[in-house]
């Protein structure tokens, strides 16, 4: 009942955010097992802006490759298909947050910083767990609250009700959403990410970042983003739209098998990397 209701609402939203055509094409190429590096390079180099951004980002201190990467093919060989897709996705998501529309811009910038903080957190936690696909964690962190962007941009009436309840009662946004709307940003985000044809792992992490144990075989990834969300809120990186810290899911913490003493170094590393990446993906 609830899911149908939400699908109906989203169905009514006409211009749901779309990814740029090139990104969709890239997703297609990456999802096709028959594609070669050459195929992917061709799609990317057709878009000059994207090419420039890709090279700028892979040569940033954030990726820390010792040698300079000067061609798209070089970047693909070095990083792999998935990583490239995720990287380009990162820059497109940024556009979505910084949509030139003046209204709500401040809110969206805060949300962007929060998302970036969560992405950096997921990356740092992933590194400390020696997780292999760091890019995927980064993008998942960046997208975890994308449902809130949809609410701000396309369901402004609903969002205003939620925001006023958050302010009056000083509660978590997700709690207010449950009360006022009967659906949450996690569910909205899940629908959007599915529509974008992103891999099931990312879909599940976004859908269950508040209940990581429900993410099935992706519960570890969901737990990573769940913890990253908590850490970046504790560290005042942007704002997720409320001023509370979500409770830590006990089984998620156990899944991660982190030591209590590793929390502080993880947060210190997040602080450092957040500054680095902000230089490349900022609103100025």
């Amino acid at each position: 009942m609830r899911a149908t209701n939400l699908t109906r609402i989203i169905g009514e939203v006409e211009d749901l955010p779309t990814l740029p055509r090139t990104i969709l094409k890239i997703t297609e190429v990456v999802n096709n097992p028959k594609s070669s590096a050459k195929d992917l390079a061709k799609v990317i180099t057709d878009d000059q802006v994207l090419t420039a951004r890709l090279l700028k980002l892979v040569n940033s201190s954030f990726y820390g490759f010792p040698q300079k990467i000067s061609t798209v093919t070089g970047a693909i060989v070095l990083l792999g298909f998935d990583a490239i897709r995720n990287l380009l996705l990162t820059t497109s998501i940024f556009d979505l947050f910084s949509n030139k529309n003046r209204k709500d811009r401040f809110k969206r910038e805060k949300l962007w910083d929060h998302s970036l903080g969560c992405a950096v957190g997921a990356k740092v936690i992933g590194n400390s767990l020696r997780y292999e696909k760091i890019e995927e964690l980064f993008v998942s962190g960046l997208l975890h609250d994308i449902g809130k962007i949809v609410e701000i941009l396309f369901l402004p009436g609903d969002f205003a009700k939620v925001a006023s309840m958050v302010e009056n009662k000083n509660i978590l946004m997700i709690t207010a959403e449950e009360h006022v709307l009967g659906y949450t940003h996690s569910e909205v985000g899940k629908l959007l990410i599915k529509r974008w044809n992103l891999p099931p792992k990312i879909v599940n992490v976004i859908a269950y970042h508040h209940q990581p144990t429900l993410a099935g075989k992706f519960s570890k990834e969901a737990a990573i983003v769940h913890l990253a969300d908590i850490l970046c809120r504790a560290m005042n990186m942007g704002s997720g739209g409320d001023n509370k810290i979500p409770p830590l899911n006990k089984s998620a913490w156990e899944t991660l098998q982190l030591k209590l003493s590793s929390i502080e170094p993880i947060m210190e590393e997040m602080e450092k990397e957040f500054e680095d990446i902000s230089l490349f993906l900022s609103h100025s």
């Binding site: 908590i230 504790a234 005042n236 509370k244 810290i245 830590l248 209590l260 929390i263 947060m267």
Partner: protein, 116 residues
């Protein structure tokens, strides 16, 4: 390094900059430890203000006060944010680490503002 009036000088203080008379002749070099006699020499040459090593007590106290104010403010904000989840030991550790980090971030910013 602070600038002090002659009347505020005490024996044992260390000059942080050389002192010249009006004609530009060096009276006492930087690094000189002031004695009662040195202070008298400065006075007789009409010197009114000199730079000595160290921090002014009031300034020092101000920094300490500011630091403890900042700490109090940060911890109050964090407690409010964390109030419903603090039973969890992990959350307690996250709050402790966050407090430390936010204080560090504040002082770093403060330092940058001063150097500009």
């Amino acid at each position: 390094m602070i600038s002090l009036k002659l009347s505020e000088l005490k024996a044992g203080m260390m000059l942080a900059k050389p002192v010249f008379n009006l004609q530009g002749v060096l009276l006492l070099d930087e690094g000189t430890e002031l004695s009662e006699k040195n202070i008298w020499i400065l006075k007789s040459w009409g010197v009114t203000q000199v730079w000595v090593e160290g921090e002014c007590e009031a300034e020092k106290n101000r920094v300490v006060e500011l630091e403890s104010d900042v700490k109090e403010f940060i911890e109050k904000e964090l407690k409010e944010k964390f109030c419903e989840v603090l039973e969890d030991q992990v959350m307690g550790e996250i709050m402790r680490a966050a407090s430390k980090l936010l204080q560090k971030r504040f002082l770093k910013k403060e330092g940058q503002n001063e150097s500009h």
